[in-house]
Structure formats: structure tokens, C-alpha cells
């Protein structure tokens, strides 16, 4: 018997005993993953009294399921708030993810197929002028004047000093700089962004959130897509070029179709990030442009945590993402792996 248990049929297949152990371990982790989700699910059908009177595990056996929380959130008192925030999230997340993908893919393509040589001197002059403008504005100079003046100084310096520096940056430097923005903790930049949007009168709008998420997500798009483009051979593009296709046409109808797996994985990654983002939304949105994570967080209101409503909100928030994730599961691993191998 024991002999049978530990015998393998071929070198790389498993013996029955090993198989049982593997299934057991996988099953335990599946339980760890699924149990909180199950608990969330049944809590959304519980009456407050069922939640407070100790744990009940099985609907219809331990407690009688009720739709009261779903009703309250979807058609009752909270429905207007929920719907508004749901629509906000449903608009902000895809648009910002789409824009990030558009700009990031363009930049990643440019960085793998063109050669850039920005002069170091020009960049230093630019940063100096930017700092000067900011300093002038904080000293009380009107921002229009400060911008024009620093722009003029920038052009003058560029023509005189900027050209003397021969050192220039290469593609790798630009890519590193763009990608390293991901290291930036959002909290380090959010206060100035808050002030910026306040000055522009865009605080508490979806535009502000879209633009901010775009900036936060660009580095990761560039990172993943750059490596993806490097893994695509050049021959096809060369053929297209000889046939007289323009750069944009080559990019649009030859390179992009080849990069679809990477694009899908990257888009999903960025979309999920924007869908779930909490900190930046906390700073930048008020009542009008609130997104779902804030709605969920706000349920811990004056009467103590309302688990039943919270569960419904969390569920309606995660269902779309989970559906997309399951549908696109194959792309995720492939798309992410390329980035990790080369990164």
C-alpha cells in the first residue's frame, strides 16, 4: 500500500500522496482567499440583529437572509449617493486608465525606437526657471507675470548658456527618470496638486482626479510597455517603413496589434489601481466627485460601523473588477512577467 502511494508514473508527475498534500495546501489557501469574500457576501444579506447576535454562517440555516441592505443602497435612501459615486468611479477610472495607456504607450514606443538627446544644460536651465517662477509666485507676484517672465528668462538662457553644455541625456536616462516617479509617495506631491487644482477652480471635479491618476499611472505603463516593445522584433516595422508607411501608421497598425497582450495586462493593472485608489481621492474630492472607496470608508459613520451596508457597497464595487480579472486572467501573468524580467 505504502509503496503504491509513493510511486510515480513518470519522473515529473506526482505520486498520489504528494498529490493529496498539494491539493490540501492549495485548498487551504483557496479557503483563506475565499472565506473573507464569503463572509462579505452573507453579511450583505443579514439583518443588523443577525450580525450583532454573534456569528451566523449559513443562510437559511442559521439566519434568514434579507434584502434590506441591498434595497437601502440600491433603491432606498442611499441610492442617489451611491449611484453618483459609482458613476464617478466608472467615469474616472476607465478614462484615466485609457489616457495613461495612450500617453504611456506612445512614450514607451518612442523610447525604444527613437534616439533622444536632450541637452543636460537645457534641462537644468528649465528646472532653474521653474523653481524661479514658483519662488516668485510664493513671494506674491501674480502667476501670469511670473510665468511669462520665467519663460523669457528660460529662452534667453537657453540661447546663451544652455548650448554650451555638450553633455546630453540618453534614452535610458529619460526612461529611468520617468519610471522612478513611481517611487514617489503620492503624499509627497498631493498638497501642491491640491493647491494647483484649487487655483484652477477644478477642485472636487472628475477632471482633477483623471489628470492626477493619469500622472500616477504613467510611470508603470511606460515601464511595462517599454519592455514589451523591446521584445517585439523590428523587421515588420522596417518593411512598413520601406513601403512608405508613416511613423504613426506603423505604430498604429503594426506595432499596437502585436502588443495586445501587454496592452491588456497594463490596462487592467492601471484600471484596477484607479478604481481602488483612496488617498488621492481623499485629498482631491469633496461631495461632488467622490469615488467609491470614499463611500465605503464613509460607512463607518456616527452609529458605528454598519457592516451590512458596507458589505453591499464593497460587493458592488469589487464585482466588475473581479469579472474583468477572471475574463482576462491569462493576459495578466504574461503582461506583468515581461516587465519583471527586464525591469
Amino acid at each position: 500500500m505504502a509503496n503504491f502511494l509513493f510511486r510515480r508514473r513518470s519522473v515529473s508527475s506526482l505520486s498520489p500522496a504528494q498529490m493529496v498534500v498539494s491539493y490540501l495546501l492549495l485548498g487551504i489557501w483557496a479557503l483563506v482567499v475565499l472565506f473573507p469574500l464569503y463572509w462579505l457576501f452573507i453579511t450583505s444579506f443579514k439583518l443588523p440583529v443577525d450580525v450583532n447576535n454573534g456569528p451566523f454562517y449559513l443562510p437559511y440555516v442559521d439566519f434568514k437572509p434579507s434584502l434590506h441592505a441591498w434595497q437601502y443602497i440600491l433603491v432606498g435612501d442611499l441610492s442617489i449617493d451611491t449611484m453618483r459615486n459609482y458613476i464617478n468611479t466608472a467615469i474616472v477610472a476607465p478614462i484615466s486608465a485609457g489616457l495613461a495607456l495612450l500617453l504611456g504607450t506612445g512614450a514607451a514606443y518612442g523610447l525604444t525606437r527613437f534616439r533622444y538627446q536632450p541637452r543636460l544644460g537645457a534641462i537644468l536651465v528649465f528646472i532653474g526657471c521653474l523653481a524661479l517662477a514658483i519662488f516668485a509666485i510664493t513671494l506674491g507676484v501674480p502667476w501670469q507675470i511670473a510665468l511669462i517672465a520665467s519663460g523669457a528668462v528660460f529662452i534667453i538662457l537657453l540661447q546663451t548658456i544652455g548650448r554650451r553644455f555638450k553633455r546630453s541625456l540618453a534614452n535610458n536616462d529619460i526612461a529611468f527618470w520617468l519610471i522612478s516617479q513611481r517611487m514617489l509617495p503620492p503624499v509627497a506631491v498631493v498638497i501642491p496638486i491640491y493647491v494647483l487644482f484649487q487655483r484652477l477652480g477644478q477642485l472636487d471635479t472628475r477632471t482633477a482626479l483623471v489628470i492626477t491618476y493619469l500622472a500616477v499611472n504613467l510611470p508603470i505603463v511606460i515601464w511595462l510597455m517599454r519592455d514589451y516593445f523591446q521584445s517585439i522584433p523590428l523587421e515588420l516595422e522596417e518593411c512598413a517603413a520601406i513601403d512608405g508607411a508613416s511613423r504613426y501608421r506603423t505604430f498604429w497598425s503594426i506595432v499596437l496589434p502585436l502588443a495586445v497582450p501587454g496592452l491588456v495586462a497594463t490596462f487592467l493593472f492601471v484600471l484596477v489601481f484607479a478604481w481602488n485608489e483612496y488617498l488621492l481621492a481623499l485629498f482631491l474630492s469633496g461631495a461632488k466627485s467622490q469615488t467609491l472607496p470614499l463611500t465605503v470608508a464613509a460607512q463607518n459613520a456616527t452609529r458605528g460601523p454598519q457592516w451590512w451596508y458596507m458589505s453591499v457597497l464593497i460587493l458592488i464595487m469589487i464585482i466588475p473588477v473581479i469579472v474583468i480579472a477572471i475574463a482576462l486572467e491569462r493576459y495578466i501573468a504574461r503582461g506583468l512577467l515581461v516587465g519583471a524580467v527586464k525591469g
Partner: protein, 390 residues
């Protein structure tokens, strides 16, 4: 990058230009111009966005962190204050909050500290003696050694029985404990899933789910889970006689709860990438080793692990960068409490902002930026580069 260069010299751009030249008229001329400027058209939008929303705010944040910010009638007032905000964090009234309460470490603590410093110095000495050093590399490594030693100093002083970790230490604990557990669990699960088991696709999809869920939702779900009065594990607590004792209300329990939430969410990320890496490794080596009679343990350490090491180091780097930003979980799950026991740096910064201390908030954010940069750079120079060379 050399590839792009070759591509530049192709006859293609001339072909494009000729067509543009033959057909006169402004749309064609615009086309020709765009064609010549294609490189800039591709890159500049992204560069512009990053400049506007990362670099520009970063400069302003630096300025804010060096000043006192005060709301006055009809607006606000910013007064330059030098390093006052930083001094407050490192030596002044916020020191116990930020760095923690220091206490004399135990002999074991001193031993750990001595070992870390000795290792760091030894690394530096061997670098100097390797005849391959440059000035930049030397300065970077000296800074790394100083930084590592001060982190070790902080660790042994705040984690000793009488001490109390501050937000820096709590953030570091989150990052390192989470990384180690997530990586080990992710690797273990990935190894299990590469075996030819029927139904493994089901497990793969299931394991992916937590990654997609909003951290705020996870925080609330785990608040339900950890509740000892009405949570699902109440029978277990009762059996242990702990029903009346809420373990989330003691500092280490609360930190553990935050870490469990984070591990639950991010193990899938490690899992999915490691799985893809494992499936991409060469089968021949593996089978050859099996035929030669190597056991699974040997195969793992000698063949599998070296193959996935480069992916692993990048993966850990990505997660490390993200893990330093942790804020949603402690904020929602424990509100930073009990006291300030679970506050991460980002949360502390947010709380300062909420109490309108914008200068202090920016200073904390900058300290976090330094910390992330230093840990990231040290990690890259000490480990990743060495692995990449192998």
C-alpha cells in the same frame, strides 16, 4: 537601445519626406513636419504630464516642508522656516511619534546592531579593495552603510522591551514582514501550481482575486474578521477563553491585523508573476536533474531558484516601492490606533495635513521619500546588481 539607432538609418524617413514634398499644400506639409517630429510627438505628452504633476509639485512640497503654513483671513500665509519642521520630527516634539521611544537595548539587541554594522563595513571594505571602485559608487556605498547602521540603531532601540516604535519603524516593519511573508507564500503557491494537477486553473483564478479588491474594502472585511464578539472566529476565541479580549486593541495585535490584510491582498501579485516565471523556465535542466537522481530540495535550490532569481529581485523591488506607500489599511482598519501604534508614514503625513500643519505634513512626506529612495538604492546596489551579473 542600440536597436533604435539602427532603425533610424533606414530609408523610410526619406520615403516619407518625398511623398510629402511632391504634394504641396498645408495638410501635406503638416504631415511632413509631424513625420520629422515623430519622436517628440510620442514622448513629449508623457514628459509634460510627469513634469507638471510630479516634478513641479515636488519642488513646491520641498518649499512647503521648509516653511510654516498658516491660514489667515482671506487666504494663507507661508513663512520660510528653514529646517524647523525636520528638526521637530527628528529631535523635537514629534520625535517619539516619528522615531519612537528609545530605550536601552538588551544585550541581544546590541549584538544584532554590532553584526549589522560589521557586515556593512565589511561590504564597504571589500568594495574598496576590489579595484573597481569609482568616486560616485564609493560615496553611495558609504551613505548606504551609514543609513543601514542608523536603521539598525533605530531597530534595536525601539524594539527593545521598554521602547516603542514610531511611524518610521512601523512602516519598515510593515514593508519587511509583508515582503518576506508574501514572497515565501507566493513562491510556495506558485510551486504547487506548476505541478501537473488537474484543476489548477481554478486555483490560479481564485488566488488572483484579492489583488483586485480595494484596500478600503479589505480593511473593513478584516475588521469584521478580527472582531472577537461577532466575527466568524468567535467560537475559537471563546474556546481559548479570549472572547472578551480584543486582540486588535493591543499594539502588536493591531499591527498584525494590518499586515495580515496586506499579505492577503498582495500575495497574489507575487504568486502570479512567480508562476509565470516558473512556467517559463527550461524543462530540460529539470528533467536531467531528476534523471540524475537529485531530490526535489536539491532541484529547487540548484536549478529552479537561480532561474527565477532575477525576476524575484525585480518583483521584490516593485512591491517594496508600493509597500512603503501603505495607508488605506491602517487608516480604515485601525484608524492608526491604538494610540499611534499602527500609523504608517503616509498616514501620519495625512493626519498632519488634516490638522492643517502643511509644512509638517510635507516634511514627513519628504522623509518618506528619502527613506524609499535610500532603501531602494541600497537594495539595488547590494543585491539586485549582483544577481543580474550572475
Amino acid at each position: 537601445m542600440g536597436v533604435g539607432q539602427e532603425f533610424q538609418n533606414l530609408p523610410r524617413s526619406q520615403a516619407g519626406l518625398e511623398t510629402a514634398g511632391r504634394l504641396k499644400g498645408w495638410p501635406q506639409r503638416l504631415n511632413g513636419y509631424l513625420e520629422r517630429r515623430a519622436g517628440n510627438v510620442f514622448v513629449l505628452p508623457a514628459v509634460f504630464v510627469v513634469l507638471l504633476l510630479s516634478i513641479f509639485p515636488l519642488i513646491i512640497s520641498l518649499y512647503l516642508s521648509l516653511s510654516h503654513f498658516k491660514f489667515v483671513k482671506g487666504g494663507f500665509q507661508i513663512k520660510f522656516a528653514g529646517l524647523a519642521n525636520y528638526r521637530k520630527l527628528l529631535f523635537g516634539s514629534e520625535k517619539t511619534h516619528f522615531l519612537g521611544k528609545w530605550a536601552n537595548p538588551s544585550p541581544v539587541g546590541w549584538l544584532v546592531f554590532a553584526i549589522v554594522v560589521a557586515l556593512a563595513v565589511w561590504g564597504l571594505v571589500s568594495y574598496i579593495r576590489s579595484h573597481q571602485h569609482s568616486v560616485g559608487g564609493l560615496i553611495g556605498r558609504v551613505l548606504s552603510v551609514v543609513f543601514l547602521s542608523s536603521i539598525a540603531w533605530l531597530v534595536v532601540h525601539t524594539l527593545s522591551p521598554a521602547g516603542r516604535p514610531g511611524t518610521v519603524m512601523v512602516t519598515l516593519i510593515y514593508v519587511f514582514v509583508d515582503l518576506v511573508i508574501q514572497y515565501s507564500l507566493g513562491l510556495g503557491l506558485a510551486l504547487l501550481c506548476t505541478q501537473r494537477l488537474p484543476g489548477r486553473r481554478f486555483f490560479r483564478v481564485i488566488f488572483l482575486l484579492p489583488m483586485m479588491i480595494t484596500p478600503v474594502g479589505i480593511a473593513y472585511t478584516f475588521r469584521m474578521m478580527t472582531d472577537t464578539v461577532m466575527g466568524p472566529f468567535k467560537p475559537i476565541w471563546q474556546a481559548l477563553g479570549l472572547a472578551m479580549f480584543s486582540w486588535v486593541n493591543i499594539p502588536w495585535g493591531a499591527r498584525a491585523a494590518v499586515m495580515i490584510g496586506d499579505i492577503w491582498q498582495w500575495t497574489p501579485f507575487m504568486f502570479i508573476v512567480l508562476l509565470a516565471a516558473l512556467e517559463g523556465q527550461s524543462v530540460e535542466l529539470f528533467e536531467a536533474a531528476l534523471v540524475d537522481g537529485a531530490n526535489r530540495w536539491q532541484i529547487f535550490w540548484r536549478i529552479t531558484f537561480p532561474q527565477i532569481l532575477p525576476v524575484s529581485t525585480t518583483l521584490v523591488l516593485i512591491r517594496m516601492i508600493e509597500a512603503f506607500k501603505i495607508v488605506d489599511l491602517p487608516n480604515v482598519l485601525t484608524n492608526g490606533g491604538p494610540g499611534t501604534a499602527t500609523e504608517s508614514l503616509t498616514l501620519q503625513s495625512y493626519i498632519s495635513w488634516r490638522s492643517l500643519d502643511l509644512g509638517g505634513s510635507a516634511a514627513i512626506a519628504y522623509m518618506l521619500l528619502f527613506l524609499v529612495t535610500f532603501v531602494g538604492m541600497t537594495y539595488v546596489t547590494l543585491l539586485r546588481r549582483r544577481v543580474a551579473e550572475v
